[in-house]
């Protein structure tokens, strides 16, 4: 089966005047299988957003490869099955949610009748039917995030990539988002999301990847973590402070070193 995401030895470095380049992502490798919900965790500045930017083709990789459904991210068609939700969902302030979704449907290459139908369904799903024709600049941050969710789901993606999306939502919004993601997973959608909210990850993920200083320092299933650690937070803090997975046994540690 084709992986939804394949990242191999990815490096994203930012040039700095008079200093060596800053390696925000430093030799990162991982895979995400179809149908999985994977949390991409790390503290601020760990390299999560740089990785996602590179995956979506916003930031060219310095070296290494990133592939979505067997297509390199440099190809525009690699994003044909992807829905993306940025950290802060900002859309043209002078357009309405309906027009915003229409624009995105056209850019995605959808048929006009399909766009019309899908917009109605999605606005109902995210609870914005009544605000469909109000300009975005009058909407609250949470409502804009809902427009963003509708935008990401518009073309019925097989992969959802989300960058710290729950940060702008209130507790009710977060619960709705969680339920929505579970529904998407039940429909076979792969979900890859970055977050530094461990509780969020624990509630919805199948697997977590922990990144620190641009490197992958742990990769565990939630099932395994529930069995082996008392608190995800303690595990995460130990991990980040030591830079080493506390659950690695000697054999695994040796393999990791190798």
């Amino acid at each position: 089966m084709i992986d939804a995401i394949t990242v191999d030895n990815l490096v994203v470095a930012y040039p700095r005047p008079g200093k060596p380049p800053l390696r925000a992502v430093d030799g990162l490798s991982f895979r995400v299988a179809p149908g999985e919900i994977v949390g991409f965790l790390g503290i601020n500045g760990a390299g999560k957003t740089s990785t996602i930017k590179s995956l979506m083709g916003f930031q060219p990789a310095t070296s290494g490869t990133a592939i979505l459904f067997n297509k390199p991210v440099q190809e525009a068609t690699s994003r044909g099955n992807v829905g993306f939700l940025p950290e802060t969902a900002l859309y043209s302030p002078f357009l309405t949610p309906h027009e915003t979704l229409w624009l995105h449907g056209e850019l995605h290459g959808m048929e006009r009748s399909a766009i019309r139908e899908r917009i109605q369904d999605l606005l109902r799903l995210v609870g914005l039917s009544e605000k469909a024709h109000v300009q975005n600049r009058t909407l609250s941050k949470g409502m804009l995030q809902r427009v963003g969710i509708a935008q990401a789901l518009l073309a019925r993606p097989r992969l959802l990539v989300m960058d710290e999306v729950s940060s702008g939502l209130d507790p009710l919004g977060r619960r709705d988002l969680r339920n929505l993601l579970k529904e998407q997973r039940d429909d076979g959608v792969t979900i890859f999301f970055s977050s530094h909210q461990l509780g969020e990850a624990e509630l919805i993920c199948d697997r977590i990847l922990v990144i620190h200083q641009g490197r992958l320092i742990a990769e565990r299933t939630i099932e395994e973590l529930r069995r082996r650690v008392t608190s995800l937070e303690d595990f995460f803090v130990t991990l980040v402070e030591s830079g080493r997975d506390p659950l690695l046994d000697t054999r695994e540690a040796l393999e990791a070193l190798r």
Binding site: L90, E99, H104, H108, Q135
Partner: protein, 260 residues
């Protein structure tokens, strides 16, 4: 198939840009200003001044040209930098579109917005002049067409500037070079007077200078000239399309690997 896809992308950006421009209400303000310019110029007749037809026409069409050029520079300068600054570029680029298609869509959006605004302003001025019994001649159609070509240059050039400068930087430099382009057109006249190697070397160089004034037929319209020869219009069309594509290509070279 590929052309149909590009048309769909351009259409999407054009509709969004037109809605945005309408809701910003810039065009309405310019429309009111244009009407005031024409009526203000005509009002001198109430004080017994006669023979003002040329003056009124000049005020009307010059203000329309000026206002739409300023609007054009503003619209083109904000297409890309504003999307990047507002971070609205991310969901757009997350769609299966190439950066060239994004650029082409943004160019089409800026160009159509300029052309529609200019046409609306011009038609209001023509209507007003006709009511005042100062109708423009047939050269008016060529005046419109050449301006559309001029807007192609303007949008391509300013979008290129916006890939190397900030939105405000692109606006300022774009406005200076657009409004001051008459200086470069005078250079053409100088080259016309030269011969030999000098002429061969300077002519292509001149083509890359901001020659926006070449697309301006305002004075010919005001002074009631006969329509320009079709061959000249064809030459202007070829030059306008080629130079716009050149600047768009330059913008693409800058944008294609740029991190956003």
């Amino acid at each position: 198939m590929r052309i149909a896809r590009e048309v769909q992308i351009c259409r999407a950006f054009v509709v969004a840009a037109l809605l945005e421009t309408l809701r910003r209400r810039e065009v309405f303000v310019l429309l009111v200003l244009s009407v005031f310019m024409v009526l203000g110029a005509y009002s001198f007749t109430f004080f017994g001044v006669h023979g003002l037809e040329l003056f009124v026409k000049d005020m009307g069409f010059s203000s329309v040209g000026l206002f739409s050029s300023v609007l054009g520079v503003a619209v083109a300068a904000r297409q890309l930098p504003e999307e990047i600054q507002r971070r609205t570029i991310y969901p757009l680029l997350a769609r299966p579109i190439t950066r060239w298609q994004l650029l082409l869509g943004k160019f089409a959006a800026a160009w159509v917005t300029c052309a529609v605004s200019f046409t609306a302003l011009s038609l209001v001025v023509v209507l007003l002049l006709t009511l005042l019994r100062i109708p423009p001649g047939w050269i008016f159609l060529q005046f419109l067409y050449s301006r559309y070509l001029g807007f192609m240059w303007l949008c391509g050039f300013v979008i290129f500037l916006s890939t190397v400068l900030s939105s405000s930087g692109a606006f300022t430099i774009g406005l200076l070079l657009t409004l001051g382009s008459g200086v470069f057109t005078r250079l053409l006249m100088f080259i016309d007077g030269t011969s030999g190697t000098m002429k061969i070397l300077l002519t292509p160089f001149c083509a890359f200078l901001p020659q926006y004034s070449l697309f301006d037929l305002t004075k010919k319209l005001v002074y009631g000239w006969e329509p320009v020869h079709p061959v000249a219009i064809l030459g202007l069309t070829l030059y306008g399309v080629a130079i716009s594509l050149f600047w768009l290509r330059m913008a693409w070279l800058r944008l294609r690997y740029q991190a956003v």
